[in-house]
């Protein structure tokens, strides 16, 4: 069991990392792949790699960026595999939307969540990944560029494309 804590107090045991990043990894996987079962696979594969690599992780940069990079690569690998297989387009399963609002709000919220989900379907996978990391997870442009291994200007371009496409689709929610 890893128990080393560094001065910045980042979670470092596998359990702590899982608790801290399972939802974020699931969100990244789902937003890229739009399939909740495949997103669960992203979480599992990511943490298998995290467990394997943690002993040699030297703390270069924030641990979040390291985990997101592993998660992103797993999502892309699963996406390639899916593309290579003959798949039934009806077989994708959509995410169970999180039950976190009060009962009275839930119908409206569920509708909004479904609209936000559907609107993202129009974006390409790289654009979805960029938008998820920057606008949903709140990473800086620099950190997103590091995770996706692209330039900061490419992040900004993709982000502008994502926001513009989503703006058009979600106009009724934006007044």
């Amino acid at each position: 069991m890893q128990t080393t804590k560094d001065t910045t107090d980042q979670p470092r045991t596998v359990s702590e990392l899982f608790d801290a990043f399972a939802n974020a990894t699931y969100t990244l996987g789902y937003r890229i792949l739009r399939d909740s079962h495949l997103a669960e696979d992203v979480v599992q594969e990511t943490f298998i790699k995290v467990i394997r690599s943690l002993p040699s992780y030297r703390g270069e940069g924030p641990i979040a960026g390291w985990i997101y990079r592993i998660g992103y690569r797993e999502a892309i690998a699963i996406s390639r595999r899916r593309r290579d297989e003959v798949t039934d387009p009806e077989s994708a399963t959509f995410a169970t939307l999180p039950a976190r609002e009060s009962v009275e709000e839930s119908v409206m919220t569920q509708d909004l969540l479904a609209r936000l989900d559907a609107a993202m379907a129009e974006l390409s996978e790289p654009v979805r990944a960029t938008f998820t990391l920057r606008d949903i997870q709140g990473l800086s442009t620099k950190d997103v560029a590091g995770v996706l291994e692209i330039s900061e200007s490419a992040v900004k371009m993709r982000l502008a494309r994502a926001r513009e496409a989503l703006r058009v689709q979600l106009k009724e929610y934006l007044e």
Partner: protein, 76 residues
Amino acid sequence: MTMTCDDLDLLLPEFLDGSLTTSQEEQAAVHLATCQQCTIEVNELEGVTKLYKEHGMLELPNEARQRIARALDIES
């Protein structure tokens, strides 16, 4: 030099990222103060971010969380 709608449009990626130079930022502010169309557009684009920041995170379903934790041999 005054900034046009097209000028602002070209700078939107940097504008929304908050990474314009000070002088570009000032020119953008001058343009926005007089252009309702661009103001609406910028507000809506910022609204997109706000919507997803508030509602875009998903929770790994509990059943999957437990199954994965077991597979990884960790407690969660």
